[in-house]
Amino acid sequence: MTAKIISRAALILTFVALAAVPMVVPMLSSPFWIDIIAEILIWSLLAASVNLLLGYVGLLSFGQALYFGVGMYGAALSVIHWGAGFWGGLAIGIVAAMLMAAVAGSVAVRLTWHYFAIITVVFSLILYFAAMSAKPLTGGDDGISFSAPQIFSLGDLKLSLADQSVQYYTILLVVAGIYALFSIVVRSPLGVRFVAVRENNRRAALIGINVYLTRYVAFILAGALAGASGALFAFFGRYASASYMFYHVSGEAVVWAIVGGAGSLLGPLFGTGLLIVLREIISAYWEHYLFVVGALTILVVMFAPRGLAGLWSDALQLLFVSKGTARSDNLVDTEARAQPKPATNVTRGG
């Protein structure tokens, strides 16, 4: 019980801390960090989309940047050409990314393991090259920029992304809402099917789970997460560029998810946060921060393959086992629910 209470308290604390950011950060440091934290929230959704596939369904996708890019262009183009607002652009971005994932996923989920990783990269590369050549529409490498639409207007009350705090709270609201939905999905019967497919797809098939359909649904939902991330990033940066569809972006998202801990709901948020904060701090002193990121990635896989989330649950366990107060059966139960098995045990599907 205690471990569960601590985990819940940490969750609430995280949310309170995130909500307090625009008030507290300017007192401590430069308001520039508010934007960095907003950026972390946005990118963490891309890491969450990798996490949904790798941590819950056991599929390593190296092509989530494609759906990020589609969400980005969905939002940007609908604002530019159709005059869509913030919410409309966000919705169009997400739907466009889901459609893209529905098309790519219909073939990709038939493959597993190596082949799945490769086909997702290949699809993202095809669309990346296509977006790079379709300059009149996408702006290619340079991208296209637009001015941010209003979020909300009611009489005199007009909220716009131009205000840093409004922008931050809008992003926090959307991201928190999406995490809440994510948590509902993984606790639902569908989420149980995801884990069953990850653990053993043959047994899952034998007890009547449609393995392809389960993977397909997960793939489309992951596309929606990546699309939401891309659409938010488009509004955040007021531009969209094809360079975000490159496979290095997908690779970074995989790194964030693994460093945070694949298979845990909020692990990727902390993984993304850690790496982006590291980037900001290191790049101020040394421009080759990616060298450190690469080394850190290798070290995490070697020594903490369950990532930050794994370290957290190990720490909780250690704390309560050493005190000897917690009833061990309860703790294990909490562990099992809070921490679905680490992605390292992903079985190689047939």
């Binding site: 073939v107 095809i126 995989v254 690469g294 290798i298 896989v301 393959p305 992605a343 390292t344």
Partner: protein, 307 residues
């Protein structure tokens, strides 16, 4: 990021007469494709043996190629001899491969799905390491053999012909090594059945290390051969990697002869498609071809061939 197409139109300079220009250009691009195809076959073969034996997808393989081009350029300028560099680069590659296998690959090999992530980390380290030491400026290397020969009505670089021939020679030498030497036989034995090989006294762990070293050496060697005909910078691996993967997939994962055949097929195809449209479309065509191959024949186009 600029799309720098490896098999792009970069060798067809100066047509002799306007009449034969178009057909000459098409042929020259096809030959260009063949030259690149042979070099890429060598690199992709390195990727393929690593995959076949260790069951890992080495995302850093393109950066091994890049390391080969950079080390070749640095050695050639510091020693004054390209040929010395060509000799040293694969040896350096073998040692680098042995060290990396021991330090990074072996501790993580049990988590096979995560080796993609570790090699991605390695790829970042290699790119940033080269950028920090060698610099971000793209450079070009003077061809060690100068001059051109007339080929289909176009003056074609002699060095490119040499590069193709040398890469072909290395490919043949590798297959001879694999089938005619004790070490090669051991490598094939471990690929085939590691348990039985262990029981028969084959040092499996050492064979895995040697194979990773060989695969790395082949990528660096490919880089040393290609250095005079491509730009030398920290990002070239990013372009080579998808191409190598396409060759490995279309040839069939772990099928070595298939990898070589697919690399040649793809490069010539890209060369020909480039003659009618731009290199980006050519790349999209090959990627589309690859997804079709992956879905229709997941074991590769040449799955009948021996492993």
């Amino acid at each position: 990021m600029i799309v720098r197409c490896a098999a792009g139109a970069c060798g067809a300079e100066g047509a002799n007469d306007i009449g034969g220009f178009v057909s000459g250009l098409v042929l020259a691009l096809a030959v260009n494709g063949l030259v690149w195809g042979l070099i890429i076959a060598l690199i992709a073969l390195g990727l393929s043996i690593i995959f076949g034996l260790l069951d890992i997808i080495n995302v850093a393989h393109g950066d091994f190629f890049m390391l080969g081009t950079v080390v070749a350029l640095v050695l050639a300028t510091s020693t004054g001899s390209y040929w010395l560099a060509l000799l040293l680069v694969p040896i350096i590659g073998f040692v680098v491969g042995l060290v990396l296998e021991r330090v990074i690959i072996r501790p993580t090999i049990r988590q096979a799905s995560l080796t993609i992530v570790t090699t991605f980390g390695l790829s970042m380290m290699l790119q940033e390491g080269v950028r920090a030491t060698y610099g971000a400026q793209p450079r070009r290397m003077a061809a060690p053999i100068e001059g051109t020969i007339p080929l289909f009505g176009i003056d074609y670089d002699v060095y490119r012909i040499f590069a193709a021939a040398f890469a072909a020679l290395c490919l043949i030498a590798f297959f001879v090594f694999l089938t005619r030497t004790k070490l090669g036989t051991w490598i094939r034995a471990v690929r085939h059945d590691p348990e039985t090989a262990t029981a028969l006294g084959v040092p499996v762990a050492r064979i895995c290390a040697i194979t990773f070293g060989l695969g790395t050496a082949m990528a660096l060697l490919g880089g040393a051969i290609a250095a005079p005909i491509t730009t030398v910078e920290f990002r070239t691996g990013v372009d080579i990697l998808p191409f190598c993967f396409m060759a490995v997939i279309i040839g069939g994962l772990g099928n070595l002869q298939g990898t070589v055949a697919a690399a040649l097929l793809l490069a010539v195809m890209e060369g020909l498609v480039t003659s009618v449209t731009d290199p980006t479309i050519a790349r999209i065509v090959s990627l589309g071809f690859m997804s079709a191959a992956l879905l229709v024949r997941p074991n590769g186009l040449f799955s009948g061939a021996t492993r």
